[in-house]
């Protein structure tokens, strides 16, 4: 893609050291009150990373506890709290906001050629709501914790003597944080595209974020009212979810999964978007089936509203509803497979550069194939009745949540790190860490597939000794995975202090964000860009400016 300006603004360099968005102002207040989408995105990055490390710590505690059949670390009640904390922190504070909040915020306006998101104040509010939600979730631990699982199923969540109202409030606030981010992105995509940036010249990451935003806006309010009703139920006994009072817990599950199934795509669609970008840049080849990938994001978003009942096959739902939900579930596989095949076809015969972002991308492609296909297995009604609430389900959604989404997030982080900070991390360590994470991840969850198919139920603090070897293997895998992530955190943070210069266009991308100076100035582009060529047209790549180092 070319613009009406050279990729690197020559005039700015002549005028002395350029002020980028990082050093244009300093001090706590310049960050706390910023309306710049890039700074808000960086604050999100710090926030979600801390939440991820907390959630990861809880996960390690869970795995260590399960080393022995009788449990090693906690009482059963404490174990229930720890796995709930792991789920709640990971889902609500990390996986849902991670990619849109950090990379999405930083890149969406850049990729569209805009100066900012359409509603910068709302963007900042959205981050502060995330902070309030995180604070409330932490407060809930102080108030006695919560042991309901991240799903808050009634009636247990109505009767348990714990801080369910506080964590419910946290989820409500985090929901609105997510809604506002999505709303902002939709408006930005509709109203702030640069001249010449038609819908089918938008990078696929933007398409994916757009589809995600539709889900955030349409599904999250139902979660909001659901957790409010649980809170009301505990405060003044509305009765609609309480079987003692004539209510129906199955209604809660309907409400909850009306949000939480689409939420799976709120989490995974941005990851798809990152992968679509990366396979193209690191194979130096236009995306195969660009329009198909774009449309399939929208198709996934729409279909995801029709399948939520597949989480409720053992809940007492009507048999007819189960038939319908199981049948409709298979349709999600079609647009998802379109994406997977398109990525593979993009890499095929490309000039593949095995840079660290590409290694993470390849790890994603392998892991997501397994995660997606086991999802189809679980969508089949008869099989699901057998595997419901076993470790097979746990392994399946970790292949999607951790193995696919988190790995795609890492891939994107490695890809755009030199763009955002203008510095490069240690590529050698990055490749090592990627390998450790891939091995550790599979070592953790392959045993869980096996023991799940043999009947090991999820969320139990103890287990029969027959499963001991699988649990031990899984725990060792988790420790390896943790080491890989620790190494990644180390070299990424270290790169900020070592200040090894990156190149202007480090990987040779041609989407608009690579046309902005590195790191971008506050207004993103020194001259407003005008788009004249198609997206992913690598013939427009200017190798001279690309390889110029950042000052």
């Amino acid at each position: 893609m070319t613009t009406n300006v050279p990729a690197l603004d020559a005039g700015a360099a002549a005028a002395g050291p350029r002020r980028n968005f990082l050093d244009v102002a300093t001090g706590f207040w310049s960050w706390a009150s910023t309306l710049d989408h890039k700074r808000i995105g960086l604050m999100y990055l710090v926030g979600v990373s801390l939440a991820f490390l907390c959630g990861g710590l809880f996960a390690l505690l869970v795995r260590l506890h399960l080393w022995e059949p009788h449990g090693t670390l906690f009482s059963n009640a404490d174990y229930n709290q720890i796995f709930t904390l792991h789920g709640a922190f990971m889902v609500f504070l990390f996986v849902i906001p991670a990619i849109p909040g950090s990379l999405g915020n930083i890149l969406l306006p850049l990729m569209l050629g805009a100066k900012d998101v359409a509603l910068p104040r709302l963007n900042l509010l959205s981050f502060y709501l995330w902070l309030v939600g995180a604070a409330l979730a932490t407060l809930a631990i102080v108030f006695g914790g919560f042991d309901t699982g991240w799903t808050f199923y009634t009636p247990y969540s109505l009767y348990t003597e714990q801080a369910v109202v506080t964590i419910g409030l946290a989820v409500f606030v985090l929901g609105f944080s997510s809604i506002f981010t999505g709303l902002n992105f939709i408006v930005t995509v509709h109203k702030l595209r640069a001249p010449g940036m038609t819908w089918f010249r938008m990078p696929l990451f933007v398409w994916a974020l757009y589809a995600t935003s539709l889900l955030q806006v349409l599904a999250t309010p139902v979660l909001g009212i659901t957790v409010l009703l649980v809170a009301f139920e505990r405060l003044y006994h509305v009765g609609i979810f309480d079987p003692r009072l004539g209510g129906d817990p199955v209604l809660f599950e309907h409400f909850f999964w009306f949000y939480s199934h689409p939420a799976v795509y709120i989490m995974v669609l941005p990851a798809f978007g990152i992968i679509s970008e990366l396979v193209s840049v690191h194979s130096r080849k236009p995306v195969f089936g660009y329009k198909l990938i774009a449309y399939s994001s929208i198709a996934i978003a729409v279909i995801s509203f029709l399948v939520w009942g597949h989480h409720m096959f053992t809940s007492g739902q009507s048999t007819y509803a189960m038939f319908a939900f199981s049948f409709l579930t298979f349709f999600v596989a079609i647009p998802t497979a379109i994406k997977e095949f398109s990525w593979v076809a993009t890499v095929w015969r490309g000039s593949i550069a095995l840079n660290s972002p590409m290694l993470y991308t390849l790890a994603f492609l392998i892991i997501f194939s397994i995660g997606g296909l086991t999802g189809v297995i679980l969508g089949a009604l008869a099989v699901n009745l057998h595997l419901h609430d076993t470790y097979f389900v746990v392994a399946h959604f970790h292949y999607v949540m951790m193995g696919s989404i988190a790995v795609a997030f890492f891939a994107g982080l490695h890809h755009w790190w030199p763009k955002i900070f203008g510095v490069m991390y240690d590529e050698f360590l990055a490749k090592i860490a990627c390998g450790i994470i891939f091995v550790g991840f599979n070592a953790t969850f392959i045993p869980q597939f096996i023991m799940g198919s043999r009947g090991m139920p999820r969320r139990y603090a103890t287990y029969v000794p027959d499963y001991t070897d699988f649990h031990k293997a899984s725990t060792i895998g988790a420790i390896v995975l943790g080491c890989g992530i620790a190494l990644m955190v180390y070299y990424l943070v270290a790169s900020l202090f070592q200040r090894r210069q990156a190149m202007q266009n480090h990987w040779g991308g041609v989407t608009l964000e690579w046309h902005a100076p590195t790191p971008p100035p506050v207004e993103n582009f020194t001259t407003p860009p005008v788009v004249t060529t198609e997206v992913y047209d690598y013939s427009t790549l200017d190798l001279d400016t690309m390889r110029r180092p950042v000052q």
Partner: protein, 244 residues
């Protein structure tokens, strides 16, 4: 569009009693700013529809489950008060629409007057609501003093549902209708209060001359919010007071 980004677009004031409006720096034109905010607000209204929608889904679910409870429960509500409140809200929606029109045509005094009338409508609505809630309290359908008291797990008796006169004695789970009635009308009432607050904020800006034909965006958006409150009530009224 200037290159340094410091040159801001300004909409001039149509008269001395008005203020000009400066377009935010990241927009190129006033139209872009207007349309962005408008689309954002419609999306927000869509989330409000889905938030309330959960309550409507619960209503239909239990209407289907316990039709007799709902039929009898609806009879305990005062449909005349409900109809009065419907008329009040519809009229206030009309005054709000006229207020937006006054802003569009730069009629400052008229804008203030119509906004004032709309707030008055909100106050009347809440006053009627108070009368209604008091009657429910007197019959023991919703005993507000015991609203948050814990319930007896052995008998399943909910402290806030006493039904002193036994109106609901013949049907199962009589409290369910009133729980849904209370939750829906209370959340709706909260929206009425928020809406009234927003209109007062509009009046403050209008008095300073911030809104005129060139820039009436906030008036338009608050107007939309107020109409949404009306919209929800249009469905609540027949469902609760005239249970079909």
């Amino acid at each position: 569009m200037s290159h340094d980004g410091h040159h801001a677009v300004v909409i001039p004031a149509p008269g001395p009693e008005f203020q000009p409006h400066t377009v935010a720096h990241h927009f190129d034109t006033p139209v872009q700013e207007f349309q962005s905010a408008k689309l954002g607000f419609w999306l927000f209204l869509a989330t409000e529809i889905l938030l309330f929608g959960g309550l409507f889904a619960a209503y239909f679910y239990f209407h289907e489950m316990y039709p007799e409870t709902f039929r009898l429960g609806g009879k305990q509500l005062d449909w005349q008060l409900g109809a009065l409140n419907t008329a009040v809200l519809l009229a206030s929606s009309w005054t709000m629409a006229m207020g937006v029109r006054a802003a569009q045509t730069s009629q400052k005094k008229l804008l203030l007057r119509y906004c004032g009338l709309t707030v008055l409508g909100a106050l009347i609505f809440m006053a009627v609501k108070f009368v209604e809630y008091s009657a429910k309290d007197a019959h023991g359908f919703v005993v507000f003093a015991d609203l948050f008291a814990p319930y007896d797990t052995a008998t399943g008796q909910i402290p806030w549902f006493q039904d002193y006169d036994g109106h609901m004695a013949g049907v199962p789970h009589g409290h369910l209708f009133f729980a849904i009635y209370l939750t829906m009308t209370a959340i709706h009432g909260l929206h009425v209060l928020i809406g009234a607050g927003l209109i007062l904020w509009i009046m403050k800006g209008a008095a300073k001359g911030r809104f005129h034909a060139g820039y009436y965006l906030p008036v338009d958006l608050v107007g939309l919010y107020w109409h949404l409150v009306d919209l929800i009530w249009i469905f609540l009224f027949p469902l609760l007071y005239l249970v079909p």
